[in-house]
């Protein structure tokens, strides 16, 4: 079982993630091309300006207005992306299979960062259940996405601390990670891919076309 999830399934997950992401991005760009005005309205300068103001915390008016949310969401998203890439255990796997490796973070830091991701998921779940606006636009898919995101971190945390049967937990953890990878291009987790484009377009529209700003 371990061989299966570690080998062919991992291959499949990465291929689907990369090919799926490319497919969705190309599909989006083709749709934008059809609209005739989208590309002519784009400007590199204003796209970058928009990204700079929205990717750096507290660099726009709305983030300053909601400090708690800004801190939580940045901590969550940074840990979510950084932890799996720089975790020693993951790099060892890359090294074993492909003979490549890169800088890794200490396990203690990774442990804290995992806790931050899990805490972030709990925060978002709490918002979904209590904030009236969010609750009103939440359906089963939103809970599912939250679960898909949380599961690799929860299982990874448990596996690392060897609380249950290590081997079983590890297999569940790898599976959960693979499910998340596959889900990214094909669910609204794709905001990870599209974020850059939607921001660039709105920034261009506001800056280049309308001579205003979007932050």
């Amino acid at each position: 079982m371990y061989e299966l999830v570690r080998g062919p399934l991992a291959w499949a997950a990465f291929i689907i993630f990369i090919a799926g992401s490319l497919y969705r991005i190309i599909y989006m760009l083709a749709g934008c091309k059809k609209e005739k005005i989208v590309f002519p309205h784009m400007s590199l300068k204003h796209s970058l300006a928009s990204l700079v103001h929205w990717v750096i915390p507290f660099n726009n008016q709305y983030m300053k207005q909601r400090p708690a949310f800004t801190i939580v969401t940045f901590a969550f998203h940074i840990c979510l992306v950084v932890t799996p890439i720089f975790l020693l255990a993951h790099i060892i796997l890359w090294d074993e299979s492909w003979n490549i490796s890169w800088w890794s973070m200490s396990d203690t830091i990774a442990d804290y960062m995992t806790i931050i991701v899990i805490a972030g998921c709990i925060f978002f779940l709490y918002r979904r259940l209590t904030d009236p606006v969010v609750k009103n636009v939440t359906d089963a898919s939103d809970y599912l996405l939250l679960a898909i995101t949380a599961l690799p971190f929860i299982t990874g945390f448990i596996a690392y601390h060897q609380w249950f049967d290590y081997k079983t937990m590890l297999i569940i953890h790898i599976l959960a990670g693979e499910i998340m990878l596959i889900a990214i291009p094909f669910t609204r987790l794709s905001h990870m891919l599209f974020f850059v484009f939607t921001r660039a377009y709105f920034g261009s529209e506001q800056g280049h076309v309308k001579h205003s700003k979007d932050w």
Binding site: W54, H191, K210
Partner: protein, 374 residues
Amino acid sequence: MKPTIAKREPVVDDAMDQTEAKLRPEQIQKVINEVIDKETGGRLWTYVNTCIHCGLCAEACQWYLSNDRDVSYAPVTKIKDTIWVMLKNKGAVDAAFIKRCAEIAYTECNLCRRCGMYCPFGIDIAYMLLVVRRICAKLDMVPLYLQDTVHSHAATMNQMWVKPDEWIDTLQWQEEEGQGYVPSARLPLEKEGAEIMYSVIGPEPKFLAQLLGNITAIMKVAGLDWTMPATAGWDNSNMAMYSGDFEVMARVERLHHETAQRLKVKKIVMGECGHAFRGAEYDGPTWMGWMKPPIPIVHAISFYYDLIKSGRIKIAKKAEGPITVQDPCNVIRNGGLGDKLRYIMNAVCAEFVDVTPNKRHNYCCNEGGGVINC
């Protein structure tokens, strides 16, 4: 996802009620799918597939804030109750649903684009609600008052049923009024090759005619070479842009720009109207596939800013007392003229008091959208 519960006073609108009674489901489905397939593309698809249902856009909307944070007015709710359902059901919705869509898109959102500026992804909800308006317009589900102004545009090429002779008569009358301020002032009609074509909105000749006398005097004092058309094409406003009747919108915008080209002017200077600026500068050209207007359009704020700053007109007496200003969305958030507006306010008011939030973070005045009119 259950539809949002929205508590509203019932509103009687003869046009919408009659349309509701006669709309057939096949017709609705056909129109929705046609608009979505042929007139939208990557933007709508990406917006719907990126929105993470986080509700952060709620805090942007003056409807939500001024109704004690009533969930049904949050921007994302308006998308949920309109376009999400249309997409999910592939257009299979009933007439009552379309009527509610029209109420939401025309009377509970002003297309002010503040929410786009508060969404972390820059999802342009106002754009999506304009798509909803487009669908409603193609189904004749438009509030009566708004549709009446659209009919006026279609029939007379101006917003207020002003007839051709009334137009010329009003200009000549106001030329005399302008001469009351500055005896040598002229309101030159049809002067080919003038530097500036001055265009106005329908309500100016209809019931704010004194503004035409004022501009006659201002142009004289500033020493500018200007003209106004004696034909249709003088109206720069465009309620069809707001109703979603883009065919009529395009006719209006095309005629406005073609009139300026016929007069061979260098630029069009327009009055203060924000939505008119938006139609002439952005929505009209965009729909017609032009990247920018053929002849540059100068909004009143830029125009007066230049006149005052360069000293071409001097302010003899400032207005007394504390005076504030409401930033119009279509020229400030969506036009970048906030600082120039403040320059003018300080130049003409003895005591200018600013508002918060201001400039591009302003709240919409709730008039935008065309259901209320000047």
